[in-house]
Symmetry: C2
DNA sequence: CGGAATCCAAGAAGATACTG
DNA sequence: CAGTATCTTCTTGGATTCCG
């Protein structure tokens, strides 16, 4: 599992950053996440969650209940990653503002 | 131009991180970059470079010569971005190693 | 409810040819 | 040499259905 993959498969795909943010805010269950993301389909949400688990950005807990309940939360790595994403966002905003001033 | 785009359009696309790295190392001309990236097509390379310029990660200089010569280099923002990418890489490696130890 | 399988539409990437 | 346009191929996302 190379790190380039981390960018292509986890950060670069549609919904991924938004999804990480919701989970970071405490939205833990797939149903809630599907509503929170607004226009994501259940299928794509599943795929994304699965991938976030693979890359250890998110941890999954399944409760053996009827009906089934599942919860996702950020790993320590996931939390750091999200912080870095925010850092990039700020950097990007600053750079854009500067550039606009120059035009 | 939102920041989510930055991830989806610049970091998440194939070749992008590798391309930024080569430019950061001083490989400046399209022809060289095409050879350095090994299996990227000229068309896709063009598209990527264009996008990196749009997002102000890279700056383009065209010399009015025959035959034409063009050079690309990282902006200040691009350099910072690449540093952060490296940071994520290290973090990811560390997290993976830890996880392997636990299995 | 959570998730996997299927089928279909949309977008990204590869190959090639052409212009300045 | 650098860059655009076109055509084809493949990967990704969306809608639906079914199972535990």
């Amino acid at each position: 599992m190379e790190t380039t993959d981390l960018f292509e498969k986890c950060l670069g795909c549609r919904y991924m950053v938004a999804l990480m943010r919701r989970i970071g805010e405490g939205t833990a269950r797939p149903g809630q996440l599907e509503r929170a993301l607004e226009d994501i389909s259940a299928k794509v949400l599943s795929e994304r969650l699965k991938r976030l688990v693979e890359y250890r950005i998110v941890e999954k807990t399944a409760f053996p209940e009827i009906p089934p309940r599942v919860e996702y939360r950020l790993t320590t790595f996931g939390q750091r990653l999200l912080e870095i994403v925010d850092e990039v966002e700020q950097l990007h905003n600053k750079a854009s503002k500067q550039a606009d001033g120059l035009l």
